[in-house]
């Protein structure tokens, strides 16, 4: 399971609006025709924005200003289907164009070190916040909130004064947005709520022009509406399949398919594969369970990747029982045709029994190794 659900701009803005944070009126469109209708309904100049879970949309041509419904339709057909840094655009967000006098940055995140939510506000918005933090840290107002006390009004004032927002009208609007953003952060179990840019219009109105909203998926049971927002289509098809099977799978670029139990052990296995001269094809964590069902599902996912040449099981039993994993491997080999050489290394709970089961069955393409390092060397060799 992934740890957090990233929401699209338009979804984040829906949550912002529910929390009382001003956003522009807009519409979702999945076809050029829908984009035309949306532009007609909104009236005037509209912005056509690609909805992808990756930064740099603007530079990639994924954001366009349309003067008419015709233009909106034309831009929509350009942008839909576009590949932005590996993400295919399937949906657009059209909203009324805003005039921008100033661009600020506002966010609230989880500070893991301090174990407190952290607000950040700067008047140097619209740019990469890491740059501001690195190059002019004094311009970035940072403030922790005690989660037991919750947000207090002085914190919004402090952020405004410290970020040197001087206009009283702006201060009031920003303070209200800060308070409501904290509300959204807590109410939706967010890990991050970011507004970049938070704009001031020439008339002095403050509103959120973009949104980045990430929700803790351990808390999704409290937010079924956010669960529904979670985008299944947009992910890589294999990752999607893995998610359906409840296996954590991340595709990489190499030839060695890797399965293990526990994120740390799998990451370590990737490193070792790299150290012995191979290239990992994926990260795949069977998690704490690792029963036959899970193994079958994971193998199905991994073998859909045509680049995979050989597969390594690196299992250290704890809650996961090695005999279960062995049974899972054997069952998978019965149920599906796997031609790939498979190297298995089992240790920990019931490892001997697991090794015995594999030795008894001993399928032709299955190789048992004693240590993590030797298993890595063997699978890399077999992947060439």
């Amino acid at each position: 399971m992934a740890a957090a659900v990233d929401l699209y701009e338009y979804q984040g803005k829906q949550l912002f609006a529910r929390a009382g944070i001003p956003v522009s009126e807009g519409r979702v469109a999945e076809t050029p025709a829908e984009a035309r209708t949306a532009a007609e309904e909104l009236g005037g100049q509209v912005v056509v924005k690609a909805q992808v879970l990756v930064g740099g949309r603007g530079k990639a041509g994924g954001i366009k200003l349309a003067d008419s419904p015709d233009e909106a339709e034309a831009y929509a057909s350009d942008i839909l289907g576009m590949d932005i840094r590996g993400h295919v655009v399937r949906r657009l967000w059209l909203e009324r164009a805003s005039e921008i006098a100033k661009e600020y940055y506002l966010s609230i995140t989880f500070d893991r070190g301090e174990k407190k939510p952290l607000f950040m506000l700067t008047t140097q918005g619209g740019v990469d916040i890491e740059e501001v933090a690195a190059e002019s840290p004094e311009a970035l107002a940072k403030l922790h909130v005690d989660p037991l006390v919750g947000f207090q009004p002085w914190q919004a004032r402090w952020l405004c004064f410290t970020a040197a927002i001087e206009d009283v009208g702006e201060q009031k609007q920003v303070a209200a947005i800060v308070e409501n953003l904290y509300g959204a952060f807590v109410d939706f179990d967010a890990m991050l709520c970011e507004v970049n840019p938070l704009i001031v219009t020439p008339e002095g109105e403050v509103k959120a022009l973009d949104s980045k909203f990430t929700v803790d998926d351990n808390a999704l049971y409290r937010h079924p509406e956010v669960g529904e927002m979670r985008d299944v289509e947009a992910a890589d098809p294999q990752e999607r399949l893995a998610r359906e099977k409840d296996v954590t799978y991340v595709k990489l670029d190499g030839e060695v398919g890797i399965l293990g139990n526990g994120a740390g052990l799998v990451m370590s296995t990737l490193d070792v594969i790299d150290q012995v001269g191979g290239r990992p094809a994926n990260f795949c964590d069977l998690g704490g369970g690792g029963d036959a069902e899970g193994v079958v599902a994971a193998l199905e996912v991994i073998t859909t990747d045509p680049q995979v040449k050989a597969i390594l099981f690196n299992i250290f039993g704890g809650i996961t029982r090695c005999d279960e994993v062995a049974r899972g491997i054997l069952e998978a080999l019965e149920r599906m045709t796997i031609e790939h050489p498979i190297v298995v290394r089992l240790d920990g709970t019931n490892a001997e029994e697991g090794r015995r089961l594999l030795a008894e069955a001993s399928p032709a393409n299955l190789h048992v190794e004693e240590t993590m390092l030797s298993a890595a060397e063997r699978v890399v060799e077999l992947s060439r």
């Binding site: 740890a3 893991r112 174990k115 890491e130 526990g262 799998v266 370590s268 250290f316 920990g348 390092l373």
Partner: protein
């Protein structure tokens, strides 16, 4: 001695009557851990393998003198269980449960911390002090008594490294899995501080991974505050930036939090870093055999 759990541990299991809770508590008991009570509301008066079950933690503490709680209740009820344990005067809470909402733990942490309670986890394998007490799901048979303290964010990776150490004949004082969630009750620094104070521990192996800045903080702490040698391992050198790697602790953001950055920070503070489990075990063995420096 050892740290966090030892022969003085009187263990209460919250969620003892559940499938997972009874399985692991029974294993812990078989290892020699002094499992004195279970708590499952509504099942007070029952027994699980001879361990009495109570309706409330308070009643269990009053009756059995439990001083340590292991939390095995489902994620939705785990924060509540920790609050109950702390209110009943439990000094050490080891939370195995995974999947607890981070905002819940944020509140729990900020409540528990100023009260001086030791919280380990959540989403962690627990704490094992070989030969003394095992609280959690760590397979004790991999480890043996000795003088190396082991602290890790990752469960199975810890077993791997413990296994390699044991094969080299190096035993352990305590093994602490701190868990990989965004909010953990005990950080590397918290655990290092205890190992430094533990007379039985002569050397510490720290097992980190990508994401966050806790390894960097630990590096500074080791240089400033520790007299005992520390050997480190970091997983995730080949993890692609921006990809989610199974738990929230493993998200890379920008350059900070990468395995390379962590390794460099540790080395800059004089900590030797192994690049794979086998190497880190060898490094530890080498340092252990050279004896403790002043």
């Amino acid at each position: 001695m050892a740290i966090i759990v030892d022969r003085e541990t009187r263990l209460l299991v919250q969620g003892l009557t559940g499938r997972e809770g009874s399985f692991h508590a029974t294993r812990n008991k078989a290892y020699g851990t002094n499992v004195v009570a279970g708590v499952t509301p509504g099942k007070g008066g029952e027994e699980v393998e001879g361990v009495p079950v109570f309706d409330t933690v308070e009643a269990a503490v009053a009756e059995t003198g439990a001083n340590t709680a292991m939390v095995f209740v489902p994620a939705r009820f785990a924060a509540d269980a920790i609050y109950e344990a702390v209110a009943a005067g439990i000094e050490t809470v080891i939370c195995i449960t995974e999947g607890i909402p981070a905002h819940d733990m944020l509140r729990v942490y900020n409540h528990v911390r100023p009260r001086g309670v030791t919280l380990v986890g959540p989403n962690c394998p627990g704490v094992l002090s070989p030969g003394k007490s095992n609280v959690g799901i760590i397979p004790a048979e991999i480890f043996r008594e000795g003088t190396v303290g082991l602290v890790s964010r990752s469960g199975t990776l810890t077993y791997q490294i413990g296994h390699e150490l044991t094969q080299l004949g190096i035993g352990q004082s305590s093994i602490v899995g701190i868990g990989g969630d965004p909010v953990v009750g005990s950080s590397f620094v918290d655990v290092l501080e205890r190992f430094e104070a533990d007379p039985e521990t002569e050397l510490v192996v720290m097992v980190g991974e990508i994401g966050g800045a806790e390894e960097e903080k630990a590096a500074a702490f080791i240089e400033a505050e520790m007299s005992k040698p520390v050997v480190a391992y970091i997983a995730g050198f080949t993890a692609p930036p921006g990809k989610t790697m199974g738990h929230a602790g493993a998200i890379i953001s920008g350059t900070a939090g990468t395995a390379r950055a962590k390794k460099e920070a540790l080395e800059a503070h004089g900590v030797r870093v192994g690049t794979n489990p086998t190497e880190v075990a060898r490094l530890a063995a080498e340092v252990a055999r050279a004896g403790t420096p002043g």
